[in-house]
């Protein structure tokens, strides 16, 4: 069990998660695109990790990341925590159906889930803390997401073969 948790791929994914988290919470005024890339990459990696390397401890890791995202980006706990935990519940109770799907279907589901996560985070932040939905930010996130989605999955599949 421990060996599964400490396999080289999972360590790499956790490094990617931490690095993209660090980039997301430190704003680079002159390299704003890096923040968008990191933010998108974090969500994508987290969902991918759940689909292909699910371990119960990942729920706790997700919980921690959600809290820290909320503290650093929103300064109040809620949008990321609710969204991430809703995803965890959804995945936990449907994983036996999801894991039987073909890889192309899984990638479609990852695509849709990531988009839903971005939208729900913004909606919760708007409803609970009055943060307006900034369409320019959203547009950048969507463009970045669409551009990096396929290459990221290709890189991840290479990492899986390590």
């Amino acid at each position: 069990m421990l060996s599964k948790l400490l396999s080289s791929q999972i360590i790499i994914y956790h490094c990617i998660l931490f690095f993209s988290f660090s980039l997301s919470v430190n704003y680079f005024v002159d390299l704003e695109i890096v923040n968008y890339l990191a933010y998108v990459c974090f969500h994508l990696t987290l969902i991918y990790l759940f689909f292909y390397f699910f371990h119960f401890s990942h729920i706790f890791v997700t919980f921690l990341y959600a809290i820290f995202f909320d503290i650093f980006l929103v300064d109040s706990i809620s949008p990321h925590l609710i969204t991430f935990l809703a995803f965890v519940v959804l995945f936990y109770f449907t994983k036996k159906y999801l894991l039987n799907l073909s890889s192309s279907n899984v990638s479609y589901i990852i695509f849709i889930l990531t988009l839903i996560m971005f939208i729900s985070e913004a909606l919760i932040a708007n409803l609970q803390f009055n943060y307006p939905i900034n369409f320019e930010n959203f547009l950048w996130i969507f463009i970045t997401f669409i551009i990096i989605f396929y290459p990221t999955l290709v890189v991840f599949s290479k990492i899986d073969k390590l």
């Binding site: 704003y27 005024v29 390299l31 729920i59 820290f68 650093f72 932040a125």
Partner: protein, 273 residues
């Protein structure tokens, strides 16, 4: 016997997992609830995570920070010639203003003596530099390297050479978080320089302007009016420059702050004398 042991082991494992999941959800519910009610535990937790986790994330992103600085330096170097010309013109213009300012200053001093007026009501608590910025997605906040040990407490005004920057919202021993004016949840009471219009403004949806939230006597100021803090909410000292009214849309006026929030390096934490 072996089968029943295996079944028991599986059900026990599942039971522990369900307990763990329930615990995580209960904890999340409590965290959200306490966060909403501004409970002291959450504030402590925020302070601790800001003190210990943020330096680690900053360290991880150091290469990007270096790259970002190099890019800025490269652009500055490329525009050096044009900037030099602009600065020469600016020096000429400022020399004329300096002569006028010296004259006005001495006149002001004499008039103040005649009227027995009090002097500047601001007292400097600490000059600090920006450590990290968290104004990427939702809240507009920056972290400064001044905290409780420097006398910085919550709800103190933060300014720079251009005007009002924001207010401190969370302080730890060494650092503080500053809520910028442009945050939608930041509300400040302002008045026009002519002292005719008093109103409340908050961060607009575009993240650049401030928009009026309340106007006393429904008096609409004019485009081009300069606005300063009114000092009535007791958080910000009176008469600190805020910005200029740039547009009026549907009974709301928009203020463009004087401070360039994309380019703040040093700030001053001040309080009323």
């Amino acid at each position: 016997m072996a089968l029943s042991f295996k079944v028991k082991a599986i059900s026990r494992k599942r039971f522990i997992k369900n307990i763990f999941l329930s615990f995580i959800y209960l904890l999340s519910f409590l965290l959200i609830l306490f966060s909403k009610s501004d409970y002291i535990v959450i504030n402590k937790f925020k302070s601790i995570s800001n003190t210990y986790l943020h330096p680690i994330t900053s360290f991880v992103t150091t290469p990007l920070k270096v790259a970002s600085n190099l890019q800025t330096q490269f652009y500055e170097f490329r525009n050096l010639k044009v900037e030099n010309k602009i600065l020469k013109e600016e020096i000429m213009r400022l020399k004329k203003w300096q002569a006028l300012a010296i004259h006005n200053s001495s006149e002001n001093r004499v008039l103040k003596k005649l009227l027995n007026a009090t002097n500047n009501n601001l007292s400097l608590v600490k000059t600090a530099s920006i450590l990290t910025r968290n104004d990427f997605m939702y809240s507009k906040m920056v972290k400064i390297n001044a905290g409780l040990k420097d006398g910085v407490i919550k709800e103190m005004a933060v300014i720079n050479h251009r005007g009002l920057v924001g207010r401190t919202v969370d302080t730890s021993i060494n650092n503080s978080k500053v809520l910028l004016l442009t945050d939608p949840n930041s509300s400040i009471s302002i008045k026009t320089i002519s002292n005719e219009n008093h109103s409340l403004v908050r961060g607009a949806d575009d993240g650049v302007h401030l928009v009026s939230a309340f106007m006393k006597d429904e008096k609409m100021p004019k485009v081009g009016d300069l606005v300063v803090t009114s000092g009535s909410a007791q958080v910000f000292p009176a008469d600190i420059l805020v910005g200029k009214i740039v547009k009026i849309i549907k009974n709301n006026f928009y203020v463009l702050p004087f401070v360039n929030f994309k380019n703040i390096d040093y700030v001053q934490v001040v309080e009323t004398k």
